[in-house]
Assembly symmetry: C2
Homo-oligomer: 449 residues x 2
């Protein structure tokens, strides 16, 4: 791939446009868009104008939105019209959603009346719904067609369809009757009736279903496309697997962000303004900082103890962090399990039992190791070492149970389980671990061993 | 979906097997496998035996591995052979990899000589390589065929192929010449030559490429299938998008686990033994616990200061956690950006500059808020409040720069950037924040304001 880019770059520098275009023409549109994205705006536009029309439209759909809006600001309406004519309906809708108002006006002016109606209809679906993901360019077959009719119909209309591999069988009211794959059509005899060949138990989603649920259906069944229906099961559009891969990536990125105590955003990091990044991060940091006041107040309540045994302070970071890390491990596994659907709400008791056993083992090992290390290596008094060991054990158990159960509780309360991740668990566990520590120490230190 | 399951359950309880099988026959194989997975072993086997042969094979491929191995232990060789004949090659390979030795022996005994050779070949590829993901059941067309010949060839051989939607054009040495979609074949005139129609600049992967890199290619181009070639660009197999969706999910789960300081594992949480979970978690916890000794030693070095100003201790948790959270936010965004390919190694200076500005703003807001809160609301001495505020500011900057750059450094050193996440960043930042705190306090507290 990189050799290709270098070749293009060399041809560009030497202004050898004829072999350059021949080369671009051979390349995948994603790569051509990548080449264009790396050029200066003027250079990119020059190249773009040299591309053949159908490639130009596909490349345009793949450009970064900053390049798209720069292009739209420069090209004439005469250049725009053929690009829009080649673009898939869902790509036009994405464009309309992302471009500034004056660009949108031009786009809508250059599309036909029927297209404009479809675009307006698609724009009405809530963001992140199945409706906002779908395209209306699918192959629909009527159930009384024969295989031969169907293949003719695909040959006539298929060129402008998002996929021809899954065809949807409808009746005269557009009620979704079933699906049939192009594979089955190609492999079947020409005189058979579609109605008898198609799969009746067809899986579909509704226009208002959340995109995360749609992605889950794709993952579960391994489909290439999925029909979208309205409340009366009339076929409205389809969603294809390539769009769903983007959704899956976006949903995972959001989970990562929420789990690291940020507001989720689907903007690319390098293209996000500093102000926006600050806005996404500051809220949780402030909230968690203020929550830590409780831990501070708790410590203040044990000042008498800390004055007589200042050595206790030196264990605070270790206890806090080990508690936090233990809790994060559990909450991460449970949040992920809930996201992939492997763990269900009704599994909470199994999670509790499993985490309890893991916590006892992990806590036991950590407590014993810490005791041995502080006593034999650091030569601290046994009472102190014992207090630390016991606290570790109790903290780990508390942290793992908290981390294991809070995400499930969040889901039960219809909150996003991802908020119950490391940062929040740590803050909750901090107070517990120090409370246990000071109380254990108070008791144990009275009977010095 | 759930109504369907209830109906099946009712029919099962009433032993109404005829309508039961009719219903199962209408359902998607994934759902049938789900129904079987929820039954007792005996009940599941009973149902499985009633399924028509081709559905049975597809359902078998979708069963959980515990059910698969239970089935294999019970069914006769006469029942096994037709299932294996229907199974796709990559599913048989997966089965052979997961089943116990005696089951594997029976599986291999029931497959034909040629199949056995292919299986053995596929088993040789390293785990997580493109070779281990691919299947050998693809449609290959010779370049001198016409469209009509090609469609005939697909009709004859397509039934047992993993996909017929992307066909691979080879020459007599199996050198990968190009690809052509079934869409293009169906939409083209019958007498055209494949050689002139197919796409020459075809994207492929090598047998030893890592599955993560393969997934990235799928995501980038939105392909349904990708050819796998050997070092001489001879076609060896194909990988289909449904298998890649599983890889994507698995890779993300591994990242989540590493970022929460665990050894990655692709076993399902609820099916993982307690001992295994302990083993995956204890290593990092021990390491991080011992690392925290440094922070403890640092505190011990300032015992004189802490004795005279015990109030300092109450701010330790807040400073540690805020530093850790600030660092986690940055490292999470960068780790994710590196994983999706949005951030490259050469972007490190842009990341540094962006994180610096974000950190100054976030640190400024947190520092000021903390100063105002502790001074006006908690009524602490200004010198103390000032020390905390200044420390917060410096800690946040240090944490965000550490969190932003360490993942990039890790990638540069060919380590997994995901290890540079919350837990490790927190441990590193702890020492910094307390070191800054005690030194600022020592200076400021000498000149009480």
């Amino acid at each position: 791939m990189n050799e290709n880019f270098e070749k293009i770059q060399t041809l560009l520098e030497h202004k050898r446009y004829v072999p350059l275009i021949a080369n671009l023409n051979e390349m995948n549109e994603v790569d051509v868009a990548h080449v264009l994205d790396m050029q200066s705006p003027a250079q990119a536009l020059l190249l773009f104008r040299m591309l053949p029309k159908n490639l130009a439209a596909n490349v345009f759909a793949q450009l970064s939105s900053s390049k798209q809006s720069a292009f739209l600001a420069t090209i004439t309406d005469r250049e725009l019209a053929p690009i829009l004519a080649e673009l898939a309906m869902d790509d036009i809708v994405d464009l309309v959603e992302e471009m500034p108002a004056n660009a949108v006006k031009r786009i809508l002016a250059q599309t036909g009346e029927t297209e404009r109606q479809v675009i307006n209809q698609l724009l009405k679906y809530p963001e992140d719904s199945a409706g906002s993901l779908m395209t209306t360019e699918y192959v629909d077959l009527e159930k009384q067609m024969t295989v031969h009719d169907a293949l003719c119909c695909i040959r006539e209309t298929g060129l402008k369809k998002e996929t021809v591999y899954t065809c949807y069988v409808i009746d005269q009211n557009r009620f979704l009757h079933g699906v049939i794959s192009l594979k089955k059509l190609v492999l079947s005899q020409g005189d058979l009736l579609i109605e008898n060949l198609c799969e009746r138990d067809c899986i579909f989603v509704h226009t208002h279903d959340d995109q995360e649920a749609v992605a889950a259906v794709f993952k579960k069944y391994g489909f290439l496309a999925l029909p979208v229906v309205d409340t009366e099961r009339r076929l409205i559009g389809i969603i294809t697997v390539d769009d769903i891969m983007d959704v899956m990536q976006q949903e995972v990125t959001e989970d990562f962000q929420i789990m690291a105590a940020m507001q989720p955003s689907d903007e690319a990091y390098l293209e996000t303004e500093v102000f926006t990044l600050v806005k996404h991060r500051i809220g949780w940091l402030l909230l968690l900082m203020v929550s830590e006041t409780f831990t501070g107040n708790l410590i203040a309540g044990y000042e008498d103890l800390l004055v007589t045994a200042t050595a206790l302070t030196t264990f605070i970071p270790m206890l806090m962090d080990t508690g936090g890390n233990s809790g994060s491990q559990s909450s991460t596994l449970i949040i992920r399990g809930l996201a992939t659907g492997e763990i269900q709400l009704h599994d909470w008791l199994r999670v509790l039992y499993k985490e309890l056993r893991v916590a006892l083992a992990v806590g036991g090992i950590l407590g014993t190791t810490s005791l041995a290390k502080t006593y034999f290596i650091n030569g601290k008094p046994l009472a102190l070492c014992g207090s630390v060991g016991i606290t570790l054990m109790i903290t780990v158990v508390a942290a793992k149970l908290t981390g294991g159960l809070l995400p499930i509780l969040a889901k039960k309360l219809c909150l996003d389980p991802a908020i119950m991740a490391g940062p929040l668990i740590t803050t909750i566990v901090d107070t517990t671990s120090l409370f246990v520590f000071f109380n254990v120490a108070r008791v144990v230190l009275r009977w010095p061993l």
